[in-house]
Each structure stands twice: as structure tokens, then as C-alpha cells.
Amino acid sequence: MTDLRRIAIEPLSRVEGHGKVTLLLDEAGAVHEARLHIVEFRGFEAFIVGRPFWEVPVVVQRLCGICPVSHNLCAAKALDRVVGGVPPPSAVKLRRLMHSGQMLQSHALHFFHLASPDLLFGFDSDVSRRNLIGLVEQHPDIAKMGVHLRKFGQQVLEAVYGKRIHGTGAVPGGVNKHLALDARDGFLARVPQVKTWALEAVALARRLTEVNQARHQDFGAVPSNLLGLVAADGALDLYDGGLRGLDAEGRLLFDGLEAVDYRSLIREEVRPWSYMKFPYLERLGPEAGWYKVGPLARVQLCDRMPTPLAEAARREFRAAYPGVTHAPLAFHWARMIELLHAAEDLERLLQDDGLLHGDLVSTGARRREGIGVIEAPRGTLIHHYEVGDDDLVTRCNLIVSTTNNNQAMNEAIRSVARRYLDGHEVTEGLLNHVEVAVRAFDPCLSCATHAMGRMPLQVTLVDARGAVVSVGTRGSA
């Protein structure tokens, strides 16, 4: 065995949270290994034990400042079962309003603020311009559109749950307040403009995907199963529904599974080099059972989008990729289709007076266990709690969206490292190719460190003996 050289990309940047990638290269510069490490541990699942269950929805959202609403909602859905309630119609509408508000802001943030500079300027373009600041200077109209889309989503959250980040909204059994009439009217007046921007965002993402179609189609593309929620009628539903699984060719593996079924559906493996676990479909085993979640999975899993503009956009996407695409860069287009859906869904919900009055909470016979599942911006999210008669949590398990994409992200960076780095002198621009692949998944490394801490994202290249060749830290020149 010859010496292997290690290169680390650390910290990963323009992603949410902390991670690193390590690469191991032999003397000829061939890539032997590429790994995405989550290097932080926070231990939420452990320290939530012993806390009163009713504080859980506001506590666990602090896993993540980008999609706190996902955790607030998913915890509340799990705890709906513990309080024995079925949230009343108004509560469900208000929860859906929060969810679409967060989908809009989170998708806008990822595409415009974080990822678009790679696509607009080039993967190996000038590191000092390849960011939001460069975007503002060279494409001010695009930057402003992103800022305003995100702002609208954040303002909806502020109105429904008190703050833009880490407010209070969903509670076990329902929600804690209605939307104010004047806030509703203000949003209704502005939402048509938001839809117009969202249509432009879809067009932009499509253009940037197609401009270099040959390369983009197989950049980091590794076939896998797909997992996500769909409504009973097969339409996309991000808040509720049954779990559907497809194989890499798009054949149905299962459909209509409920949240409680996750225990027989998914197993998780621990690997010594990451705090992020590796989930897989138990029936297929760890080698063949890994899967993708998130916009790319969802847009291809559902039979249709429930809103007209997004459905038209979905059809164009499916026509552009006959069969199933596994291209990470196609995530961006799919993500903007969901952003358009979120804008349309906000308009639909805002027209419903159920947001303004009606029962907010329902409770019934207490249970000791609750499992909730939701489609967060980054994919399927599962919360599982057990609660004692004294109201204290006795067990907590969280499978977050980014964890569901763990194997998929590792496969993508391995593929990109082999294709673009093998035998080449490693440059900052080449290392950014690896990050571009990770970024496409919009990983939330904050969430993924829930086990205990945060996730720093670093890439390391290791030579044939496992020695760190060099830490290819970018942007330090």
C-alpha cells in the first residue's frame, strides 16, 4: 500500500451548519476516498429526556435557525398523538400557512443567497466574488428578488408565530393563536407579486440548469431510491400524507405508509467517522437501501402538484428528464418549483377565513407515545417521543432531513472527486466542485448535528496510507 495524501475542505461554506470533506489521494493523484464528516454533536435527543413534553416544540426548533418551523411542526404533530387530539381545521390551516411561509424563505435563501453564485459565475470562478456580495454587485435584480422572496416568507412566520426565527406557533393538539385580519389583508395584497417572482425564479433555475446540460446531468449523479410524503390522492403534500418510496428507475417500492411505520421501514447505521448516522430502507439493506429525500425526490415522487403554476412547472421538469433524474444539480430547479408551489399555497390559504377564527386546540385520551413526520424544506423529517404520566419525556428519536441524504451526499462527492480531481493538481476551484455537489442537496448541517452539537462540513483528501495529504482549505489565500 502506498502513501495516501489527505486533503480537507474545511469548513464547508455557503451551506447551513458546519461540515468538512476529506479526500484521500494516492501518488498518482487518484482519489481513493471522499467523505463528508459531520464533526459536531449536540445531544438534543438525550437532553430532551426529562423535560416536560409541552415545551418540546419550542425547544427542539433550536436545532436549526433556518428551518425551525419544521421542527416546531413535526414535534407538535408527534405530540398531537400524546395529547390525544386531532387539530381542528383552523389549526391545520395555520400550521400549513407557517409551513409554506418557511418553505418560501428557506428555498429562497438556499438558491439565491448561497447556491446561485456557483451557477451564475462558474464553479471555479473568483473566490472573492463567488458569493452573495458578488451577486448584489453583478446581478442586483436577481439578488433583490431573492431578498424579497425570503422576506415575505419570514414576515408570514412573524405574523403567525410571533418571531421570524424561534417563535411559538404549533402546540400539542393545535396552534396558539389566529392570524390578525390586517396582517392577512396585507399579505393577500402582496402575494401576486410574490408569485410573479417565484415564476421568474423557476425560469432562472431552469435556465441555469440547462445552460450546461451535458455536464450538469451527470455531475455527481448516483442512482438511488427516493423517499417522501405524498397526499392520499398522489399530489405533493409537504405537511401530511403517506410515505412513498420509489426505486432508482421510478418503480413503486411502497406507498401510503404512516409515520408509525418508520420503525419497520428505516434502520440507521453508525460509522466511526461522522456524527451523522446513515439511514437506509431495512428491506433493501444498507448497500442498496439508501435513498434521496428533498425537492428532487418529491418532484419526482408525486403524481402532480396541487397548485396550477407549480404543476405546469413540474410537467416541464419531468419532460426535460425522461424517467428519473438523480442529478444533484437538478435539485435547484426542483427546489424553485416547490418555492412556486409555496407561493401559490400561501395565496390559497390566505383566502381562507379559517385563519382568522375557529377552534385552535383539541385534546382527548392521553397516550404515551407519538410519532410525527413532515416534509421539511430539505426532506422527510421524523420526530418520535415517549412521554410518562408525569408529562416528562422519557425517550426521543429524531431523523432529520439532511441525515436522510447522508449516503447520497457521500456518493455525490465521491463521484465528483473521481471525475474532476483524479490525476489533477488540486486547486481551489476544483475543490469547490466538491462543495457544489454537497450544496445542491441544501444540507442543513445544523440539524444533522442534533445528536449532539453542530455539524462542521470539511472535505479532506487522504493519501493511500490514510495520511492527510494536504488540507485544501479554500479561500485562505
Partner: protein, 179 residues
């Protein structure tokens, strides 16, 4: 030279909510960018801070990597600001301080029933965890504290514009939050 103020930001053991709240200044980011440039930040691909005027730190210190980044950051920033509950007092992640970290790791990576391969991750790539999550001022000198979980966007705005105008930063009453 641009004559712009150089700003760096970093996240230690935090949730990125403080960074998101900073972005909640919305379109005010445009006039801000006329007066500041960004150095190391999760928003740029600058991985290590060089000499900066102002550094914003989100999150407490939970492992040796956090401490390393914080020390480097402090050395490069003329003015260091601890942003948010996690940086100021450890915040929610410090809830783990009442437990032995080994027990927590065991609960998550060994005891959890849904695991097929179980073992606490120990690879050399993973930084050593500290037994407690600690606020940044226990390790380095901090010049300002912006409270809140997260501090509201208006707190970032009031603080930064005062600094840029050469005024002593004060926070209007309504933007001092502790939730």
C-alpha cells in the same frame, strides 16, 4: 483599498439562527454592502479570517475545533461581538452540561433501538468534545454582547450602523430580547 469596514462572521456551537436573523435586515443588506466587505463568513468561501475590523460570533464552545476557530477569529478581529444566547451563555446546547457527555453519546449511538451498527464515533477526523458547552467570553475577550435567541434583525442593524458611524452602540429598548 476600498475604505470599507471589514466584517467577519462565524458560527461555533449554534444553530445558524443568529446568522439568519442578521439576514433578516432584508433589503438593508444593499446599503450595508456599500459600507462593509465580508471576510470569513458562512456566506463566503473565505475559510480563514484575515485582519478584520469587526467579528460576529454565533454559538458557544463545545469542542476543540470551536476553540481553535474562536482563538484565530479573536486574533484577527479588532472588535469581537458575541451574538445570541449560545455565544453569551452557552444557550440551549449547554443543556447537555448537566449530563456526562459519554452517557449522551451512548444514548444516541448505542442505546437507540433503530440502529443496525452501533458504536460511538471516534475517528480522528472528529474533534474532541469538551465535557461542557461554554460561552465564548470564558476563552477570549469579548467587546460587545448582542442578546437574544436570536437577536432581532433590528438589533444587528442598530449595532452595526452605530459602529460604522463611529458612535458608541446602544440598543433601543424594543430590540433587546432574551427569547
Amino acid at each position: 483599498m476600498t475604505g470599507k469596514v471589514k466584517l467577519a462572521t462565524t458560527s461555533l456551537a449554534g444553530c445558524f439562527g443568529c446568522h439568519m436573523s442578521f439576514l433578516d435586515i432584508d433589503e438593508r443588506i444593499l446599503p450595508l454592502l456599500e459600507r462593509v466587505t465580508f471576510d470569513r463568513s458562512p456566506l463566503t468561501d473565505v475559510k480563514h479570517a484575515s485582519a478584520c475590523d469587526v467579528g460576529l460570533v454565533e454559538g458557544g464552545v463545545c469542542n476543540e475545533d470551536n476553540l481553535h476557530v474562536l482563538t484565530e477569529f479573536r486574533a484577527q478581529c479588532k472588535v469581537l461581538v458575541a451574538v445570541g444566547a449560545c455565544a453569551i451563555n452557552g444557550g440551549l446546547p449547554a443543556q447537555r452540561n448537566q449530563f456526562d457527555v459519554k452517557d449522551l453519546l451512548h444514548t444516541v449511538y448505542v442505546a437507540e433501538p433503530g440502529l443496525s451498527r452501533r458504536a460511538v464515533p471516534t475517528d480522528a477526523e472528529l474533534p474532541r468534545l469538551f465535557d461542557k458547552v461554554r460561552p465564548v467570553h470564558e476563552f477570549v475577550q469579548v467587546d460587545y454582547f448582542l442578546p437574544g435567541c436570536p437577536p432581532p434583525a433590528d438589533a444587528f442593524w442598530a449595532f452595526l450602523t452605530a459602529l460604522l458611524d463611529g458612535r458608541a452602540p446602544t440598543l433601543p429598548r424594543g430590540v433587546v430580547r432574551y427569547d
